[in-house]
Amino acid sequence: MRRLLLLAMVVAPGTASAGRTFYGWLQGSETMPERGAEIGTFISEENRLEDLHNNRDTTWWFAPSIGINDQLELTLPIEFAWDRADNTGPRSTMLHYAAELKYRFVTSDSVDKPAFAPAIRIGINRVVTGSRDVVEPHATLIGTYEAGAFHAAINLGVEALVGPDQQYYQGMPGVGLSIAATEDLRFGVEAFGEFALNHTDDGNYSWFAVGPNLAWTHGRTWISAAYGIGVYKIRDAPKLNWGIAF
């Protein structure tokens, strides 16, 4: 049981995102309009350093998002992972399915919206690996500030991995900047990490990375990406997001 719980901790970046964002790892505060629908996906890598057995994992996350009303969005993700470390062979698995709600506290109307837009995202993952008695509740406070071509975001997330024998908690802070180069294209920089709030018997899975990002919106499709360059306990952490609205 403990080995399977550790697998879930290592391969669970917990950074689900849906709805357009200008960042790779950070979530934005936008939500779908009422009855709007979007298919979103991301692929991310976390390539850790020697003290974590050079663990490398690649995650693929896929989810429809639905606008409940103009400020509330429901997302139903499924997450898959590929994992390999020096002391383990490669493994591919479906990691979890989940339900998430994202609520934007202010209007998104193009004229009436304020410069600062707070939002909150909460969710719960049902881990399907191992003994199937592990859940991952998570929550992220999101704040964005927009002024002309300038956009900034801050995320303060927390995630718990709760099993019958052990619990693991981590914080997921991040900040980012994005500047509009054209109407559709943006560039910026962001910093993101995962920090253990408690310690497991097998070590601390914290990491932190900083790097450039870009975002492109084209009609109903948007793409955003970031390349996190490792600052703490990780070589790099690239992430690519893509969404298409209906």
Binding site: P33, E34, R35, G36, D109, V111, D112, G219, R220
Partner: protein, 223 residues
């Protein structure tokens, strides 16, 4: 072109403009003739309005309903700061949006019986469409004052409460290349006669809210 009517009634009409009770105002009257591209008379709606001064908005909320896959009415005029309500009277979803520079918005999709409200804080011409039904189109004129009216069935119009001064009268109808205008000098207690003419063309194509062409059979019956 318009000519100010001299010595019509000579009456003094009390009116309120911008809340200044007791100021004396005049009227702009006339006829707006609309013809289609084939030269035949058209009974399409036209809005006639006076620009050159500002007034506070009224408290009324204008309605643009969605009925039988049409916006009803498809041309309205409001004053800057007023609201428009969009009730859905059809048995299927509509998604009202505008990509006009003066006021971009997306009301999302809403079902029969629901209504969405939108404020218009800036002047301009707002073209409104449904993201589901490409045949639906309407125009909202957001004007700087409350001196606007729709022409009558016989083409005549009357705008009361116009302050004295030199202004410009416009007539707008959907599908005309551009509105027509004429200068007008309004004298207190008198009618100023302005006749205008417009020619309508075909309904221009438009894109959906994503900037794409509409797909065929775009109707949805989801509730």
């Amino acid at each position: 072109m318009g000519v100010a009517a001299a010595g019509s009634t000579g009456r003094v009409v009390g009116g309120v403009v911008g809340g200044a009770v007791g100021r004396v105002v005049g009227r702009v009257v006339g006829n707006v003739k609309i013809t289609d591209a084939d030269g035949k008379p058209s009974n399409a709606d036209a809005i006639i309005y006076v620009v050159g001064f500002k007034e506070a908005p009224g408290a009324e909320i204008t309605q643009v309903a969605q009925k039988d896959k049409k916006f009803v009415p498809d041309l309205v005029a409001i004053t800057v700061g007023e609201h428009v309500k969009f009730p859905n009277g059809d048995a299927f979803l509509h998604n009202v949006f505008s990509q006009s520079t003066a006021r971009k918005f997306d009301l999302g999709s809403f079902k029969r019986g629901d209504a969405k409200d939108k404020d218009f804080p800036d002047p301009g011409v707002i073209d409104v469409y449904c993201n589901i039904h490409p045949e639906m189109a309407a125009t909202i004129l957001v004007l700087p004052n409350r001196r606007h009216t729709k022409r009558n069935a016989d083409g005549s119009y009357l705008i009361d409460g116009v302050p004295p001064g030199s202004w410009t009268v416009f007539a707008y109808t959907r599908r005309a290349a551009k509105p027509v205008s004429a200068p007008v000098t309004v004298t207190a207690g008198q009618d100023s006669l302005i006749n205008l003419a417009l020619t309508r063309g075909a309904e221009p194509d438009h894109l959906n809210k994503y900037g794409e062409k509409y797909h065929d059979n775009a109707t949805t019956t989801y509730r």
